[in-house]
């Protein structure tokens, strides 16, 4: 199903495995890291410009209704207020995103500023600009918006009813993906056992510590924004909104204080652009934490219904999956999230007959969109719960049921896509369970200890029909230092630093001699946003090839100067060496200048493309996957319902580690986010209104809440990233909830099916289990 474009060289043609590396595989402290521990790194809110205004949004206070009047006069009369902009001040008041690339979702646009109708509490209605932030805040309260409330719909399943209020006239279903293979009816009927389950996940907040923020100014008549964003390519949409040529908008991304998908859609961008466009003045906008909690996008709550049919020996023969995702009020990236959910709904298991439907449904809740794991993580809770159920129904071990069904290289996923690299999921499971071992007994007679594990499979790289590409531009300066320019954005995971390591490896330029310039639509070749665990895969492959090409460009001159034979050169430590003779990169670069040899290379790497046919539910999906297993030991308090995670191990096949410390950091951080999702985090909404927007009430794991995360890395060397690397940004968040549920079931004999698994839900489960639960308790006590 995948095709390789003629200009996409085969990954196998470059050194990947079995080679020794000098820089790749080590964990040096990079430029960004040193600045971070000094506190000197500048984030998006750290810029101040002469005459800068402070911009703030007026947001809808109701979840569904018509705007009958907006009175800005009192706000405008407040001294210090420079502008109050509403829908009529927006040249093209639409954010149009065909998230799936136009493969079947209805086209619904989101206004930049709501004009006549509001669809969620927190939706932007006006933007105020004032000379001081306190004045802007005061002016926001003075903008009088009159509403006529209309009935809303607040959960996705109700929104599917025929008589449900319409969030958009086009209908409440944004997209309905179907992935179909084989004959599910007959296979299910012929199965020895069938297990069914319904699983539910919740709204989750990204909770990056740096809120949405940025500054804007006009420079040479170009609207310039320096913002916290994962995607500088939104410059295109900003230009559309302002109705100016794309060349008149420049977006610069600062290093982010976390993103996790929450800075993948636009946040402050269109509002800053409007203020600067109208006032011709610089502006700054920083969302308060409470605004961010209220109105930033969330993780999709999924309702998942599974039916799994298997033979007596545990071999799966058929699976039916229904997924309903709450998209909230606007499309954002929901079509793509629900696609990932559909494509990965069966997990790392071979399922010959599949019918999966996955719908993104509009409600009058805050919009859901990208969040680390992107639909492929919610379904882990579904498919892993099914596997454990199957094991207990068949009376075989949880390991055995999985061993019967794991993919191997060459298998096809339900959409028909072939898995072309190693599947080392068994290895990750064995490592994780071995590291977990057996812990101490319960600490009290009313507590129970349990152990469990969960396996996961997460794509890296964009869906292949987007024909993704990324560019990197390398220049060897005449003093031997190296410049890297690439439009990547850096979330804090070392996106820029890993480019330096790869270039250093190939060209032998010491890391301290490399400067990397990223995240600028004007001065960098585009690399695509940092999302979909794509950046190492994409810009990493681009920099690897740019480095090889640049080395090839320089090789002739170096061989000549060193009187070296073909293939004799070694590039290391800022020098080129051959047969005991050596030449500095500086001298080489100077000589190249003299001889008119180009010391720059701009490389655009194109990922393999492909097609998916939404009508048949078959076709290409993702470039490749990262597999892993997590294992946990929990202690459950039968009296309070409290779950303590005593030990946690996370194992992934990362292909090859470019920087082991950063890899470990990604895995530990991802697992921790997953643990928050599994046990604590929830954004309760009451008819679309956030019950609380205080950070004090939205609990993310603190240093006290969770144990150390032990990491066990597998390096199969078979990823499709540079030097055989796989992406590791999203994968570690996936298996956590299933792992915890599995350990809890082991402890108390009942399985949680709704997230987060709060003490209240544990107590309810224990109550429902009734006397059976109590008996088990006595036996164990």
């Amino acid at each position: 199903m995948t095709e390789v474009l003629p200009d996409a060289p085969d990954v196998g043609s470059l050194p990947r495995t079995g080679e020794t590396y000098n820089i790749v595989g080590t964990s040096p402290a990079h430029h960004d890291f040193i600045e971070k521990v000094k506190g000197s790194l500048l984030y998006a809110a750290d810029w101040r410009l002469p005459g800068m205004l402070h911009a703030k949004l007026v947001r809808s206070q109701i979840a569904s209704g018509r705007i009958t009047r907006i009175d800005t006069s009192a706000a405008l009369a407040l001294p210090g207020v420079v502008a109050v902009l509403t829908a009529e001040d927006v040249p093209y008041n639409q954010i149009v995103e065909n998230a799936s690339g136009g493969l079947g979702e209805v086209t619904v646009s989101q206004p930049v500023l709501a004009a006549d109708r509001v669809r969620y509490a927190g939706e932007p209605i006006a933007v105020v600009a004032a000379t001081e932030p306190e004045i802007a805040a005061e002016a926001v309260d003075l903008v009088e918006v009159t509403y006529e409330e209309t009935p809303g719909v607040f959960d996705a399943e109700s929104a599917l009813a025929d008589d449900a209020p319409l969030v958009h006239e086009e209908g409440n279903v944004l997209v309905n993906w179907n992935i179909v293979r084989g004959d599910v009816e007959n296979e299910m009927a012929a199965a020895d056992v069938v297990v069914e389950g319904e699983y539910q996940s919740q709204h989750v907040e990204h909770a990056y510590l740096e809120p949405e923020s940025g500054v804007s100014w006009l420079e040479n008549d170009v609207v310039t924004l320096r913002i916290s964003t994962q995607v500088i390519e939104h410059a295109t949409e900003i230009a559309e909104i302002l109705e100016v040529p794309e060349s008149k908008v420049r977006v610069i991304a600062s290093y982010m204080g976390g993103g996790f998908g929450g800075k993948e859609d636009m946040t402050v961008e269109p509002y800053l652009a409007l203020v600067t466009w109208h006032t011709r003045k610089p502006a700054r906008m920083v969302w308060t934490r409470q605004e961010s909690m209220l109105a930033s996008t969330k993780r999709h709550p999924f309702l998942m219904r599974y039916r799994t049919g298997a033979r007596q020996d545990g071999t799966i023969v058929a699976q039916e999956v229904e997924i309903i995702g709450d998209a909230g009020a606007y499309p954002c990236l929901s079509a793509r999230v629900l696609f990932a959910g559909a494509a990965l709904a069966c997990g790392p298991y071979r399922v010959p007959s599949v019918r999966c439907t996955s719908r993104a449904v509009f409600t009058n809740n805050v919009p859901s969109s990208a969040f680390r794991g992107f639909g492929a993580m919610q379904v882990v809770f579904g498919y892993e719960s099914q596997m454990d159920q199957l094991a207990s129904k068949l009376g075989i071990s949880r390991e055995e049921v999985r061993d019967r069904n794991y993919y191997v290289k060459g298998d096809t996923i339900p959409s028909g896509d072939e898995i072309t690299t190693a599947v080392a999921v068994t290895q990750t499971r064995e490592l994780a369970l071995q590291e977990l071992g057996e812990g101490p007994p319960p600490t009290a007679s009313h507590k129970r200890v349990g152990r469990g594990f969960g396996c996961g499979m997460q794509p890296y790289g964009r869906t292949i029909w987007f024909r993704d590409h990324a560019s990197a531009w390398l220049t060897l300066q005449t003093d031997g230092s190296l410049l890297i320019r690439s439009g990547v954005t850096d979330l804090g995971a070392g996106q820029a630093a890993s480019l330096c390591q790869i270039a250093s490896e190939v060209l032998g330029a010491p890391l301290e001699s490399i400067s990397v310039y990223i995240g600028d639509t004007a001065l960098n070749p585009p690399a695509g946003g940092t999302f979909a665990t794509r950046q190492l895969y994409m810009s990493g492959n681009a920099i690897l090839r740019a480095s090889h090409d640049l080395r090839d460009q320089l090789t002739g001159v170096a061989e000549d100067l060193l009187d070296a034979a073909d293939g004799e050169l070694a590039w290391q430590g800022g020098k080129v060496q051959a047969g005991g003779r050596s030449l500095t990169l500086a001298d080489l670069a100077k000589e190249c200048q003299q001889r008119g040899v180009n010391t720059s290379n701009l490389y655009t790497w194109r990922a393999p493309g492909g097609k998916f046919d939404p009508s048949t539910g078959q076709g290409g999906t993702f470039p490749d996957y990262t597999f892993g297993t997590h294992a946990a030991e929990v202690e459950v308090d039968l009296e309070t319902g409290q779950v303590e995670v005593r030990r946690y191990v996370a194992s992934h096949d990362v292909g090859r580690q470019i920087n082991p410390v950063r890899v470990e950091g990604q895995i530990q951080g991802g697992a921790m986010q997953g643990l928050g999702y599994a046990l604590m985090e929830d954004c309760p909404l009451d008819e679309g209104q956030a019950v609380s927007t205080l950070f004090a009430n939205y609990l993310i794991p603190s240093s006290m809440d969770m144990p150390d995360i032990q990491v066990a890395v597998v390096e199969s060397g078979e990823g499709r990233g540079p030097l055989g690397a796989r992406g590791i940004g999203e994968p570690p968040v996936g298996p956590t909830a299933a792992t915890i549920a599995s350990a809890i079931e082991d402890a108390i004999g009942v399985r949680p099916t709704q997230l987060p698994i709060t003490p209240e839900r544990i107590l309810k489960l224990l109550d429902e289990a009734g006397s059976a639960g109590a008996q088990t308790g006595e036996e164990q006590a």
Binding site: A29, Y43, D46, Y208, E210, G258, R289, M672
Partner: protein, 166 residues
């Protein structure tokens, strides 16, 4: 209405005119220009605005600038001011990879530094307890606690060999 105030920050005195409702956070970040004191929540929950007031960690977002005139304020950048050389605690953060996005790092370092002075024998669990007011969304805390633990070991060693206060 604005009030004239004097703040002592990282050993230097600053004269400012601020509204009475100006937070210490805004005065430090915006008026004095210290990017290492950051807005994260404005509720005293996340700890990204942590500064030391007379060597006591406080949330600058919950303090008015006018209240901070009689204390010596230290921010993370005060640790490296003199020589640009990293403080040993910062070096431990660097060696252990104890930062990802880096937004929580100033608060983590400052809180840990005070704990090191009070109780360099703190256990891993005690370190976790003290850092509870500094949230991190990236690292999962393991590497942060590793870094702090190593620094505490250095402090203990210094103390036993009669070295000076770090």
């Amino acid at each position: 209405m604005k009030t004239q105030i004097f703040l002592t920050v990282n050993g230097e005195q600053h004269e400012l005119w601020v509204r009475n409702d100006r937070t210490l956070l805004d005065a430090l970040h915006d008026d004095i220009g210290l990017p290492d004191v950051r807005y994260g929540c404005g509720e005293g929950v996340c700890g990204t605005c942590t500064v030391l007031a007379d060597n006591e960690p406080i949330n600058a977002c919950l303090t008015f600038a006018v209240q901070a005139q009689d204390v010596a304020i230290q921010t993370l950048s005060g640790l490296t001011n003199a020589s640009e050389e990293l403080h040993p605690l910062q070096k431990c953060f660097l060696e252990h990879g104890a930062a990802q996005c880096g937004f929580c790092t100033p608060g983590m370092v400052l809180t840990s530094k005070v704990l090191a002075q009070r109780n360099p024998s703190a256990t891993r669990q005690e370190i976790r307890y003290e850092l509870v007011g500094n949230l991190c969304r990236c690292t999962g805390y393991t590497k942060i606690v590793d870094a702090v633990e190593e620094y505490f070991g250095q402090v203990r060693e210094q103390a036993s060999t009669g070295g000076g206060d770090r």
